[in-house]
């Protein structure tokens, strides 16, 4: 047993709670994720107002407040618009497992899209990556896909 602290010691009280949630993904995310899971297909929605293709798809275009009813295929290839190589440990919030470092992490503009998504790169050497480089999605095999963006393992140089 540790020694009894003095009566005027300032304590720290530990508290842990399990914050469990079951999020409704919504209509737009569900359609995207189902197509990703079953067909390895990537889609965005085109804005009626400004014609931009938004990925992730969403009901309202933030830029012009237009509606985005039309679904269009994007990717699976694209271009790097920003990147880094992460060298600090980070616990994957979905798995609770620390991701091995270093790893490449980038803004990816999928072909046909006007916005970027964040994703991982197969390449983890900083000097082998550049803005403007073309890359393509590497999907998990169909049986392993569960309908999240992690169904794309990473992007590799085209």
């Amino acid at each position: 047993m540790s020694p009894t602290p003095p009566i005027d010691a300032v304590l720290r009280l530990e508290y842990a709670a399990d914050f469990e949630y079951s999020y409704a993904a919504g209509k737009f995310a569900s359609r995207f994720m189902n197509a990703l899971r079953t067909e390895a297909r990537l889609q965005g929605t085109r804005c009626d107002g400004c014609n931009k293709v938004l990925v992730p798809p969403r009901p309202v275009c933030g830029l012009c407040s237009g509606r985005t009813a039309e679904w269009v295929d994007v990717g699976p290839s694209g271009v790097i618009t920003g990147y880094t190589v992460v060298e600090v440990p980070f616990i994957d919030p979905m798995t609770g497992v620390e991701r091995p470092i270093p790893y490449g992490f980038a803004f990816v503009r999928l072909d046909g899209a006007d916005t970027n998504i964040y994703h991982f790169l197969e390449e983890s050497r900083h000097d082998k990556i550049s803005i403007g480089m073309r890359i393509t999605a590497v999907f998990k095999p169909a049986p392993e896909r569960d309908g999240t963006l992690a169904d794309i393992i990473h992007f590799r140089t085209e």
């Binding site: 399990d18 914050f19 949630y21 079951s22 409704a24 969403r58 009901p59 933030g62 830029l63």
Partner: protein, 364 residues
């Protein structure tokens, strides 16, 4: 300060589980209806004030996800983490001081997505009470015991309000119609935290509400039938352990502020829309605000109130929305004859710590 009017209102359907929509999509349903009601588009709105809680959304800075549906690209949006009437008050100030002209005020909540015991438990003092594992029902049970023992109200009074709310759900198209109930059934139901039974607590719901407000000159252009925000008021009492449940001084201050701004004096509003999570609280708050709780009086919660099914945070704006319908005379089967003044109330926190009141007036 300039006058501010409500020129559009909208609500999603409030239901037990809205698994069909993400919370931003749920909110969009209300916003679309409110914009349509006001006859404007999202780009006509120059600022938004939202009400939501990270703990329910399960996401820190959870208003990030509503950026587009509230139209805040390169525009202001600010969030009040409390009842929606708090957001209405702030939205009112942003227009009353002349800085903005058309505001969108929203609230959303999905009580279905998280673990309510954990979420409500996180509102307890982490040093002492949280370890006891109490929840909001326990706090309410302790309070109800004191209220009933004081003789101010009886369990039958509270049960009668539950019965009335559930009956009203049948004529409110924005809530799920609830099984009708009798006082005896409410009193005979399984207990949650004595003296409270399971029907004393408002049902858990997913839902959203949106209100469009505008400066006077815009409102006169937009709407032949604006409803004026005559006054707003709010106050927060002490933390629940430091306050007797019969102490309604925060409610008094919220009401006094809103009534004084409206210049109503001792005049009684035609309609009261009052929020409470528990039925004994509804007895307390409605009586204190001056509503007539008898069936014959009939000026309390024509919408059914929270016991007809609105989630926390959203309830206050749902109350405002019903008042607007009453004052415009388009409340359908719920319409009170010739309502000219209405009082909407919202509440937040363990043991109803914060109160919000808006006083609303019909006509030009």
């Amino acid at each position: 300060m300039g006058r501010v009017a409500i020129v559009g209102v909208g609500q999603s359907v409030h239901a037990r589980d809205r698994h069909d929509v993400a919370y931003a999509e749920l909110l969009l349903e209300a916003i679309d209806e409110a914009l349509d009601d006001a006859g404007i588009g999202l780009s006509d709105v120059d600022n938004a004030v939202t009400a939501s809680l990270d703990f329910y959304d399960g996401r820190t800075i959870s208003n990030m996800a509503v950026a587009e549906v509230v139209g805040s690209y390169l525009k202001p949006e600010s969030r009040i983490c409390s009842d929606g009437i708090g957001a209405l008050l702030y939205g009112w100030a942003r227009i009353a001081d002349g800085d903005h002209r058309v505001g969108l005020v929203t609230a959303h909540c999905k009580e279905s997505e998280g673990n309510l015991a954990t979420i409500e438990g996180a509102a307890f003092d982490p040093f002492v009470q949280r370890r006891l594992g109490a929840d909001a029902d326990v706090v309410a049970g302790l309070a109800a015991r004191q209220i009933y023992d004081s003789g101010a109200f009886a369990p039958t009074d509270a049960a009668a309000l539950v019965v009335a709310a559930r009956a009203a759900s049948a004529v409110n198209p924005k809530v799920t119609t609830l099984e009708s109930m009798t006082v005896a059934k409410v009193l005979d139901a399984p207990r949650s935290a004595t003296p409270l039974g399971v029907f004393d607590r408002a049902p858990n719901r997913d839902g959203s509400c949106a209100v469009i407000i505008a400066a006077e000159e815009v409102a006169m252009d937009l709407s032949g039938n604006p409803v004026w925000i005559a006054g707003v008021g709010t106050a927060t009492g002490k933390y629940w352990t430091d306050r007797h449940p019969g102490d309604l001084s925060a409610l008094d201050r919220a009401r006094d502020g809103a009534v004084a701004m409206a210049g109503w004096g001792a005049d009684v509003p035609d309609v009261f829309e009052v929020s409470a999570q528990y039925a004994h609280e509804l007895c307390q708050f409605a009586t204190r605000l001056g509503a007539d709780l008898t069936e014959a009086g009939g000026n309390l919660n024509p919408s059914g109130g929270r016991h007809a099914g609105n989630p926390v945070t959203v309830s206050g704006l749902s109350r405002v929305t019903e008042c607007v319908h009453q004052l415009r005379g388009d409340a359908g089967p719920r319409q009170h004859h010739d309502a000219q003044r209405a009082l909407a109330h919202g509440v937040a926190g363990l043991g109803a710590q914060s109160h919000f009141v808006a006083t609303l007036e019909a006509g030009v």
